[in-house]
């Protein structure tokens, strides 16, 4: 496949990245989706919107997040020089808030009075409930009953923040079903409700909009790396569920030919076991939740159950821009298993005193494999997309430790 002139030009005006993306939604939602697109296009051109967002990112989220040289991890790997982009230090403990802030400001401009969201691990739910508290908007978060069980602390955080958490028992009771239920809510509440999607998926303009709000990550890395090393990084690594933290890190560098990018998918118990969540490595093109991308599905086009130790990666699809970058081979997507992620979780905690989210631990695991074979002047950036406090129960249970 011939490469395009730029990897940063998408999507087109139908919301397509190549064949991926688009607006595959029920007719009831089309006017709403078009309204979000118009509102976002207007906001994008308004310096007042950018200034407002910048204000909250600095004073509320605590940006810029540090780019931290992981000296002990680097020494341990005996190879590439490893930096961590510390999104775990953001308010609410993950990159998710970059996007929820941007979208809540947009929803306010649109005069919407009720916010709905879906969540898997609960990180996006917490980030949404947080900005809803900040701006005094009622918030309903849909969450799979299975996820509610394994992410209890986040469920309670959302409730403390004033959100209503609605358990979803349909289908497999995980993130995809929560997204179905949020879409059903939106269809039934078209007049006052804004759907705040948490990742670079859903109908256009969401994949592009969420990416734009997350590119603050990559933009900062560029400046910070210039300051630290006076050059661009060589390799960027991030975990990919829906893929918003990865898009945010990668996008500003897509047209830099010297920068290698690696997205890490959740291989669960291994791709060959069928118990995984690696849509690019183990799925096929399909249409779900408003866009075309890669999905885990059977030969009849029925969406399959997924498995990952990390609830945030436990989704059968991936953002459409990733699908496009995958097909153009601009970004390499590799699988990392539960076991490898768990080992990396412990490794980073011991070496750097940083407990990563299990999602981010997938990226750390890939670096631990790769760094030893790279030269010492090779600069690697891991997107440490979230902190791991929420995962200690899961990790303890997996390690057989009673808390």
């Amino acid at each position: 496949m011939a490469g395009p002139n730029t990897f940063r030009g998408g999507p087109d005006d139908r919301g397509l990245f190549g064949i991926h993306g688009g607006r595959f939604v029920a007719e009831t939602l089309m006017p709403l989706v078009l309204e979000v697109e118009r509102a976002y296009e207007t906001a994008k051109r308004d310096p007042g919107f950018a200034a407002e967002l910048r204000y909250y990112l600095e004073h509320y989220v605590g940006r810029p997040s540090p780019l931290y040289f992981a000296e002990r991890l680097t020494r341990h790997c005996r190879g590439a020089k490893i930096y961590l982009k510390r999104e775990d230090l953001n308010h609410t403990g993950a990159h998710k808030v970059n996007n929820t802030l941007g979208q809540i400001l947009l929803a306010r401009r649109m005069g919407k009075r009720r916010i709905i969201a879906e969540t898997g691990a609960g990180q996006h739910g917490v980030a949404t409930a947080t900005v809803c508290a900040l701006f005094d908007l009622p918030c309903v978060v849909y969450m799979g009953a299975t996820d509610i069980e394994r992410q209890k602390p986040n469920v309670f955080r959302m409730k403390l923040l004033g959100a209503e958490v609605r358990p979803v028992t349909s289908g497999t009771a995980t993130l995809k079903d929560a997204m179905n239920e949020a879409l059903r809510d939106w269809v039934a509440n078209v007049d006052d409700t804004y759907y705040l999607i948490g990742t670079v998926a859903g109908p256009h303009p969401y994949p592009a909009m969420v990416r734009d709000f997350q590119t603050v990550i990559g933009d900062e890395v560029r400046v910070q790396m210039m300051r630290a090393e006076e050059r661009l990084p060589d390799t960027l690594i991030a975990c990919v569920g829906g893929g918003s933290n990865a898009m945010g890190l990668f996008h500003p560098f897509l047209d830099e030919p010297t920068v290698t990018m690696i997205g890490v998918e959740a291989a669960g118990e291994g791709i060959s076991t069928g118990r995984h969540a690696a849509s690019l490595n183990g799925g096929a093109p399909g249409v779900l939740h408003g866009n075309r991308s890669y999905y885990l599905q059977d030969a009849d086009g029925q969406i399959l159950d997924t498995h990952s130790i990390s609830a945030g990666l436990d989704y059968p699809g991936v953002g459409p821009e990733h699908a496009w970058l995958f097909e153009h081979r601009r970004v390499a997507y590799v699988p990392v298993t539960d076991r490898e992620a768990l080992a990396a979780f412990q490794l980073l905690t011991r070496l750097e005193g940083i407990i990563p989210a299990l999602e981010s631990a997938h990226a750390v695991a890939e670096v631990a494999k790769r760094a030893p074979n790279l030269p010492r002047d090779h600069l690697v950036v891991i997107n440490l997309s979230g902190r791991g406090d929420k995962d200690v129960d899961t990790v303890a249970a997996t390690l057989g430790v009673k808390l």
Binding site: F24, T28, L288
Partner: protein, 284 residues
């Protein structure tokens, strides 16, 4: 003339509205479903929608979600759905059949192959919930070329600016979704539906069917007074659910119960307009 156009012409001539029934293919199992399907026309269904089961039916409420999952669990697939239609069509050459569902199973099956097989099986129309006019090149235009009507949904959110976009490549009839919401949840008031249908008629000459939220013969009567057809789905699907044993298998009461519901709805729809339109016109 297509089967859909012929059927609406007949209904017009008879001065009455039609009854459209929706059931998910293979719910609760293939054998039972094929029996129901074979009896639907005689029970009073003028047009038949067959749901193509999908694991993630985003526009459907709990009743049809459950029906979809029952069907999938019983082993239903898109290929088997087409086979069910093929067998029905051997015995019934007149009743229009519209396949309704979501895009992914069709996309996975392959659009050209799907259209060829659907046409050969005797499919007259398609309703694909998650394919808005913005993506007409995916399936709508190829379907038209294959001689299959692409039936469009209009909704309470379809304003006068949006309607022409929806209608550009619409075929067969226009399906008016009477509520902003998912199937089987709430119902629209009769006068609201009447006003909506009147507005739609200013935009299109296509027959107008109204669905979502019609549960009782009384509601069907009200819709049949203003629209060209009333679509009933969730209520019938719930009758299936009520006639399953503890293991989820069809009880002997299932088939008669569904057909009784259909007959009651059909009788309501048939006597909704006291004086047939053509006679009224002839009398003028």
């Amino acid at each position: 003339m297509s089967r859909i156009a012929a059927r609406f012409a007949q209904l017009r001539a008879a001065g009455r509205a039609g009854l459209v029934t929706y059931l998910s293919c293979g719910d609760p199992d293939r054998v039972t479903f094929e029996k129901i399907l074979a009896h639907l026309p005689k029970a009073g269904a003028d047009l038949i929608e067959i749901g193509m089961p999908f694991s993630d039916p985003m526009a459907d409420g709990p009743a049809i979600q459950a029906a979809s999952l029952r069907a999938l669990k019983s082993g239903m697939t898109l290929a088997k759905t087409l086979d069910v239609l093929r067998r029905f069509r051997k015995a019934d050459r007149d009743t229009p059949v519209i396949l309704m569902g979501y895009y992914n199973p069709i996309y996975r099956y392959g659009v050209p192959r799907f259209l060829k097989d659907a046409k050969a099986a005797g499919c007259d129309g398609l309703i694909v919930v998650d394919l808005p006019p913005e993506h007409d090149d995916e399936l709508c235009l190829p379907a038209r070329q294959a001689g299959i009507d692409f039936v469009r949904l209009a909704t309470p959110t379809s304003d006068d600016k949006r309607l022409p976009v929806i209608l550009t490549n619409a075929g067969g009839f226009l399906y008016y979704v009477a509520i902003a919401g998912i199937t089987g949840t709430k119902s629209a008031r009769a006068e609201v539906v009447a006003a909506a249908v009147a507005r739609l008629r200013r935009h299109t000459a296509l027959p107008i069917a109204v669905g979502f939220g019609i549960r009782t013969p009384a509601q069907a009567v009200k819709v049949a007074r203003v629209a060209d057809a009333a679509v009933i789905g969730s209520a019938l699907v719930e009758t299936i659910a009520k006639n399953l044993d503890k293991r989820g298998k069809a009880k002997a009461t299932l088939l008669p119960a569904v057909l009784k519901d259909v007959a009651a709805l059909a009788s309501g729809v048939r006597k909704a307009r006291p004086r047939p339109r053509n006679q009224a016109r002839a009398a003028q």
